[in-house]
Symmetry: C2
Subunit: 341 residues, 2 copies
């Protein structure tokens, strides 16, 4: 049977209220009483009942985190950042998984928003999940990390994909590359379009034209990158055009496919063609050659999202509709200075 305030009050010979004040560090209690109460609480092994406290205060001092699944670097780093911020600001984190099961989103949102947590941080690493309906009448502050949520306009924290793409293309330009191909991601994903725009901007910024013939459609998958590269090489071949000296793939996974296809074609990476990816997934550092790429600031994204939520709970402004954080270039061995074919 759990120990209650009443138990301590009886033991210590004071009222419940006095015990409550002592345990919450409120003023207006004599040192003697305070000490006595603390000792009895300790002795009895008192543990505050979170449900009762939440019910009485209307606050849980807890941030809810909704993730599709555990085990991906994306999720774990975002959560780590959020945990850091929450801990620093005196809140706790409660994580709930949907395990990718459709329908679980709504269920989990309902449960968490029913007094378990004060605000919701939703991590959307890839897919466009369907939290929107349940969120409609969740009257808590919500911030999404990762992807635009369809329908419902929720505050979003994301990587500055355009800046990242500028970084990648800029790196290739710095290495002397002038013919730089781009393998897109999925056209329906916002981030993919932004990465493409960043690529274009970087080229134009360097006074180079954006040659549509150097842009091929991938789909973020390894086979997608492979086939896109094949298509590209065939297209250039047919047109009697020179090969690119560098390829920028919209993500790391498709970059692996790009490298595969280039080798199939007898080209060396980075000897003949440099390749750069985006995301910095764990495998990026383990393939050969280790992949130069752009890293998303995941812990920072979680941290910023958590801070916004907590600020909001403390009377601050509503989280801005869109916050983008700058990614960083991760130099490895798949890019090298241009050497003309």
């Amino acid at each position: 049977m759990p120990v209650t305030l009443q138990d301590i009050a009886a033991q210590a010979g004071v009222s419940k209220m006095t015990v409550s004040k002592v345990l919450n560090g409120q003023p207006g209690i004599s040192e003697a009483t305070r000490a006595r109460v603390l000792t009895t609480a300790q002795k009895l092994g008192y543990r505050a009942n979170a449900a009762a406290r939440t019910l009485a205060t209307g606050r849980s001092d807890t941030l809810g985190v909704l993730v599709p699944s555990l085990g991906t670097q994306y999720v774990s780093e975002v959560v780590r950042g959020a945990d850091h911020a929450a801990t620093a600001l005196g809140l706790d984190l409660l994580i709930s998984t949907t395990q990718e099961r459709p329908g679980r989103e709504g269920h989990n949102v309902s449960r968490l928003s029913g007094g378990l947590v004060d605000a919701l941080l939703i991590v959307l690493p890839y897919a466009l999940h369907d939290y929107a309906p349940a969120l409609l009448d969740a009257s808590l502050p919500v911030v999404v990390v990762g992807n635009e949520s369809p329908g419902q306009p929720l505050a979003l924290v994301d990587t500055d994909h355009m800046a990242g793409a500028r970084l990648a293309a800029g790196h290739l330009l710095d290495l002397g590359h002038r013919r730089i191909a781009f393998v897109t991601g999925r056209p329906d994903v916002q981030a993919s379009a932004e990465r493409l725009r960043g690529y274009g901007e970087a080229l134009r910024g360097a006074g180079l034209p954006v040659d549509e013939r150097l842009i091929v459609d991938g789909d973020y998958t390894q086979p997608g990158g492979f086939h896109a590269t094949r298509t590209l090489l065939a297209r250039l071949d047919a047109g009697g055009l020179p090969l690119p000296t560098a390829v920028f793939a919209a993500n790391d996974v498709s970059a692996f496919g790009v490298i595969e296809a280039l080798r199939d074609h007898g080209l060396r990476v980075p000897g003949d063609v440099s390749v750069i990816g985006f995301d910095d997934i764990p495998q990026a550092s383990q393939v050969h050659p280790p992949l130069t790429t752009v890293r998303q600031p995941l812990p920072e994204m979680g941290e910023v999202a958590a801070r916004m939520l907590i600020a909001r709970l403390r009377g601050g402004p509503a989280p801005p509709p869109r916050t983008v954080l700058p990614p960083t270039l991760v130099l490895r061995a798949s890019t090298a200075p241009r050497r003309p074919h």
Copy 2:
């Protein structure tokens, strides 16, 4: 402002109690009333307050899961299994991270056990964390997955390390190997000792002596495996003894070190020496050659632990002190039939 039972009752022209009964599917309500209440609840966007319900019932229908951090395969798979079981049995899962920070264990245990959850599932992938003190007076059912917890005797669910080691050694024996070396893990970790025992049993079962000179101390790390192998080779060399034709490393990470050292010595894997690991970490399939190893049944461990806890909550027996689940052999390319040197 959240909608309460009272709001629905007022709108629907009934009492709070009637609404409560309808929402919980209890009998003794006319169809008409039931329908009317359900409609208003829907319309108002009612969402049960978990804190209030927990306080009133004394149950939260939620399982608490304590993990050191996210992002490791170990944790994510165990949680996936636990989630599966919990969902199937009508409970929810709430995950809390300690982010490896000492002291957080106690804090988190206190919070969760204070009415937030009905039972606790602790995932201890590697270190011997310090949950014990806080658990002392947590009056909830607790099961630990992974490692023996120091001091406090808590119900444990783990891999059958000994059976796994027998599997590994048995595989090598099946391939014709007779001189099989063993690189230990950390002596202070129970699992390491069990893996060593399994190795010994397998050899003895095959009528082979256990040669102490073929057993060297590692520490579960890659450098540890590397140095252990060096030591082994030097020792055999000095004694004029033949080299082993196979090495069983107490875990995958140290197996990588073993392979490194063997190659340094001019030996090919698996051409000259076969190497087998334990754990099946993600890298195991990505190194060259892909590592043959033993896989722990992680989702099953989570599932079994969750089921025990839930059974207990429903009046079943206390979880047994120790439950071990059988691992499986994962055949890859680092082992091959014996070819005499």
